[in-house]
């Protein structure tokens, strides 16, 4: 999985921004969502990302793992990532 051809990601102090250049839509990301995008950009394995982000944010509840999985599904559904 990687960022789609027309997608730009930039980290910000508050998290990050994603710019889909075909539709010219901009999405803002909180720190944990930005961490997901950073992992994708760095080429991390999709199945590893939830655990890596969970570890980064020291989340023992497991909530973040589910959210990351949902976020990746949303990114795929919006065409922001591709295989």
């Amino acid at each position: 999985m990687k960022l789609a051809k027309y997608v730009k990601f930039r980290e910000e102090k508050f998290g990050g921004v994603v710019f889909e250049t075909r539709s010219e839509k901009v999405y803002t990301l909180n720190p944990s969502a930005a961490a997901v995008l950073r992992e994708i950009e760095e080429g991390a394995d999709e199945h590893e990302i939830p655990k890596r982000v969970q570890a980064r944010f020291q989340d023992a509840s497991g909530a973040i793992e589910r959210e990351v999985t949902a976020l990746i599904a949303e990114l795929r559904q919006k065409g922001l990532v591709e295989d």
Binding site: K8, K25, N30, A33, Q58, A70
Partner: protein
């Protein structure tokens, strides 16, 4: 892996605005740099907001070295979206080198052109370099209308240029400035744009500035004419939904500026000499790329919107709309 704060919001993607409308907020850099690379133009359009035309290049336009220093910064700050406009950007002496520089670094670049230099060779070159899109100004659906507004312009050449873009596989956008000459052709122009393969069509009220100040008596549309114009656009938006994006704004200039006072767009307007404007419709300059970094200018941009002179200018427009005629008499903030 480095640990980060555990106290957090849910991991989300927050939609969605366009780079030109996203407010500055806490962004570390602009999302969009709109660069008027030269004021020189092969045409002398009646409605040109930039006072561009033949022989109208600024005397102090950026040198080649300065141009590439600016581009270097745009890339360094990861500005995700950049456009080259003019004047006519394709007559800039280093146009293709600039395009190559941006595209080779994965920059997303749009070219805003009058379409007169879109030869098959140039279109193939733009495709090979990987520009995001070429926006062509198509102010009319007929030769008669187009050529009256675009003095020295040639409708057939513009259409041929768009066909060349399509043949080369370059994404096409259309920009349309409504005036008394062409407002009645808006429906046909949208149809023509789609037929020529455009994926986006943009329009909105023409501004009273630049060349239009001198020709306003020929150009100005009445409220009724604008109402009819937008009525057609609403219908065309539905007709082309899913095939071509018809995008237009009905907001008057004053209304838009009042909104921008509180919600500045994450957009820098760069003039041919490197000065940076707050927004096209105001005379205020917030930086100079010849002497300041993009980071310094971005910081000043956000402060400059709070300058009382900006709010005063906007409020004065309510009683004196003619103030926009002085947009080219820059005021440094």
């Amino acid at each position: 892996m480095e640990s980060e704060v555990a106290d957090r919001d849910a991991c989300t993607l927050i939609p969605a605005t366009t780079p030109g409308t996203t407010v500055t907020g806490d962004l570390g850099a602009p999302l969009y740099v709109a660069w008027q690379v030269t004021n020189e133009c092969n045409l002398a359009c009646l409605h040109c907001i930039e006072e561009s035309g033949p022989g109208k290049a600024f005397r102090d336009e950026l040198s080649k070295a300065q141009v590439f220093r600016v581009l270097e910064q745009v890339m360094e700050y990861q500005v995700p979206y950049l456009s080259f406009s003019g004047g006519e950007p394709m007559i800039h002496p280093h146009f293709f080198e600039m395009v190559e520089y941006v595209c080779a670094r994965n920059g997303e670049l749009k070219i805003e052109t009058n379409g007169h230099y879109l030869t098959p060779e140039n279109c193939e070159r733009l495709k090979a370099l990987g520009v995001k899109a070429v926006q062509v100004s198509l102010d009319g659906a007929s030769r008669e209308t187009f050529n009256r507004m675009r003095v020295r312009g040639d409708f057939d050449r513009t259409i041929e240029g768009m066909r060349n873009l399509r043949a080369a596989g370059v994404p096409i956008e259309i920009n349309y400035s409504p005036t008394r000459f062409n407002a009645h052709e808006i429906g046909a122009a949208v149809d023509l744009a789609c037929e020529l393969g455009a994926y986006s069509f943009y329009t909105g009220p023409t501004m009273y500035t630049g060349n239009a100040v001198k020709t306003w008596h020929l150009l100005e549309l009445s409220e009724d004419q604008y109402a009819t114009f937008f009525q057609v656009l609403h219908a065309k938006t539905e007709e082309y939904r899913g095939r071509m994006r018809v995008y237009f704004h009905e907001m008057g200039l004053l209304e838009e500026l009042r909104y921008r006072l509180h919600h500045p767009a994450a957009l820098l307007i760069v003039l041919p000499n490197g000065l940076v404007k707050l927004i096209n419709a105001l005379p205020f300059v917030c930086g100079d790329l010849r002497t300041q970094t993009l980071g310094e200018i971005w910081a000043n941009f956000q402060r400059a919107w709070q300058d009382p002179r900006v709010a005063q200018f906007v409020e004065d427009l309510a009683t004196d709309p003619g103030k926009t005629s002085s947009l080219h008499q820059w005021v440094y903030l």
